[in-house]
């Protein structure tokens, strides 16, 4: 090894500063797309977000104007169906992982849930197509909601488990010592204490699937009109953005930007809400 004294030390200092600068530039490059996407959404979208957008149906091809009222309602309906399926299964499954079960079984289940989280969302569309759409010979709101609900299950399961594990054991012991049965302890003490975290997890999962397009392409399918029955195709905001974005019409492009702006605003509102819910608490599920 060489020893070059002062000169070497200066060089090492420079190298360190250089590395810090490169890391800083990397961080800027990572968040740059966020700023750019936001900027262009505002510039291109804000002009078309008006009263009509929220209250009217899409205009026919060629006609200017119209809105996405049916798509906005459609997305809310799909989220409701997804929630009915995904929330109970995810939350109760998370309770099992945190409160019951042997360490071996739980680590396997946890592992599988993490693997499920990595399954491409379009795969769920194909699966639900085979399960529901082919069987009942119709695209439907139920099929779309089911696809989104299945995606939610492993997401909610993992966040619920993590926040329930944060509840101090003393709470459980105190309740059990008073003669409260185990399941009542879990429901009334443990889940209640962790409720903010559980709700946070649910909201994040809803925000995540609310922006999903791929699983809806051949389940919910989209609809130019109002949906009157859950067994019929239904419109959804991300689907509508996709259809309009790849269309050749300028007016539809404007609508796509407006739809995207509304969608992103919704998703970010949920994320801000989550931040408020978890403020001042060290333990965020993420």
């Amino acid at each position: 090894m060489r020893f070059e004294g002062k000169h070497n030390h200066t060089w090492r200092k420079i190298k360190s500063a250089l590395a810090c600068t490169i890391a800083f530039v990397s961080a800027i490059l990572v968040i740059l797309p966020l700023g750019l996407v936001f900027f262009y959404l505002l510039v291109n979208g804000i002009g078309s977000v008006n009263w009509d957008f929220f209250t009217k149906l899409p205009a026919p091809v060629g006609a200017v104007g119209g809105g996405m009222a049916n798509a906005i309602v459609g997305t809310l309906v799909l989220l409701a169906i997804a929630g009915v399926i995904g929330i109970p299964v995810g939350v109760l499954g998370g309770v099992y992982l945190a409160e019951y079960g042997s360490a071996r079984i739980n680590s396997v289940l946890r592992f599988l849930a993490d693997v499920l989280n990595g399954v491409p969302s379009i795969t769920w569309g194909v699966v639900v197509y085979g399960l529901i759409v082919l069987r009942f010979k119709s695209f439907s709101a139920l099929a779309g909601g089911l696809a989104l609900g299945l995606i939610m299950i492993p997401l909610i399961l993992r966040t619920t488990e993590e926040v329930i594990l944060l509840v101090p054991n003393g709470y459980r012991e105190a309740s059990l010592a008073l003669g409260v049965s185990r399941w009542q302890t879990i429901v009334h003490i443990v889940m209640k204490t962790a409720s903010r975290g559980i709700i946070t997890g649910i909201l994040l999962a809803l925000a995540r699937v609310g922006g999903e397009t791929a699983p809806l392409l051949f389940t919910a399918f989209g609809n130019r009109f109002w949906n009157h029955s859950l067994t019929e195709p239904i419109a959804a905001l991300p689907l509508q953005v996709f259809t309009y974005a790849i269309s050749p019409y300028d007016d539809w492009h404007r609508q796509a930007w407006a739809g995207a702006l509304v969608l992103v605003t919704g998703v970010f509102c949920v994320n801000v809400l989550v931040r408020i819910l978890t403020r001042g608490r060290g333990a965020s599920p993420l």
Binding site: R12, S181, W183, L217
Partner: protein
């Protein structure tokens, strides 16, 4: 506390025996209910595998291994070879990794080791917001903002500098494999960054203290004591990012050009497994066509499951080895 005489204690004993024990029914029912819900994850994996397998078994029987190694995709002639899609998926994911891995890991190192403390939390929040942008919106931005810009400035420049290689030759259309790779990189940057950050945070402080005690500069401590210690975990983060890249659908469908071909030039349009599903599934008219597309879904599922298994194993062995927190 009043003393209890022997007689009194004796008198208590039979009373306690006469009390009926509290009902265990609620407890058992609740445990079984939650168990059933937790087993949903097993059911779901089996269900997905079974549904994709049974939905594509005819096509698999007809084409066999040809499905994976031939490159003719002709629904009219009912000739289906998935090779161009597999190629497109792998190449676009590879481009994405080449861009996202250095940026993501450098950002994670910045967030945990190098950045001033006040800047860390805001940066983390911004990266979480980037992760929250739906894929379809990034695709919209890709079509109308990113591609025109790429076609105007970076692509011609790349062609001037590297045009002599086959990768950057030929005409520049706009939607192409390279654009697809870039958009996928943006999609996977948040997950690579946040998982890498978790990994670096779990490196014991003793490592850093030892390096600083030996007179290391900030960068040397980061490189020697933190990054090389966390190598395995970081590799897990990269593989996890790869899993997401392979399955990325909407954004890449909107910018990759959707042409099933195997071309060396990254300026030529390509196609991925996920985007052929997105584009053609609802248009598939014949049974065999639907079967072939479901087969594409099966291939995609198999690849992502394997990649994710590997990623989770790597991450788990790393955290198990370095976890200093008490296990609950």
């Amino acid at each position: 506390m009043p003393a209890i005489t022997v007689e009194e204690a004796g008198a208590i004993q039979p009373t306690r025996a006469r009390m009926s024990p509290p009902s265990r029914f609620g407890d058992k029912a609740f445990e079984w209910l939650t168990l059933a819900m937790a087993f949903a994850v097993v059911v779901l994996i089996v269900l997905v595998g079974w549904e994709l397998w049974s939905g594509s078994v005819l096509a698999m029987k007809k084409f066999g291994v040809r499905f994976l190694v031939t490159s003719t995709w002709d629904p009219v002639a009912e000739e289906f070879g998935a090779l161009p899609f597999i190629y497109g998926t792998l190449v676009s994911s590879l481009i994405a990794l080449l861009i996202a891995v250095p940026l993501g890991i450098a950002t994670a190192a910045y967030l945990t080791e190098l950045a001033p403390l006040w800047i860390r939390q805001p940066l983390v929040s911004l990266i979480e917001m980037l992760a929250a942008i739906p894929s379809v919106i990034l695709g919209l931005w890709g079509i109308f903002v990113m591609i025109p810009w790429l076609r105007e400035y970076p692509f011609p420049w790349l062609q001037r500098v590297l045009g002599w290689t086959p990768f950057f030759s030929g005409p520049i259309y706009g939607p192409c494999m390279f654009a697809g790779g870039i958009i996928v990189a943006v999609m996977i940057l948040p997950i690579i960054t946040s998982v890498s950050r978790e990994i670096l945070r779990s490196v014991p402080d003793l490592q850093r203290e030892a390096a600083y005690a030996l007179g290391a500069t900030r960068w040397e401590a980061t490189r020697i004591a933190v990054l090389s210690y966390a190598k395995k975990g970081l590799f897990g983060a990269v593989i996890l990012g790869l899993g997401r890249a392979l399955g990325e659908t909407m954004a890449v469908t909107m910018v990759i050009g959707n042409t099933p071909q195997i071309a060396a030039s990254l300026f030529k349009p390509g196609y991925t497994l996920a985007s052929v599903l997105a584009n053609e599934f609802t248009e598939a008219t014949t049974d065999l066509y639907v079967q072939a597309l479901t087969g594409i879904g099966l291939v995609l599922f198999a690849i992502t499951i394997l990649v994710n298994l590997l990623a989770q194993l790597l991450l788990r062995t790393f955290t198990a080895a370095s976890d200093t927190r008490a296990v609950q």
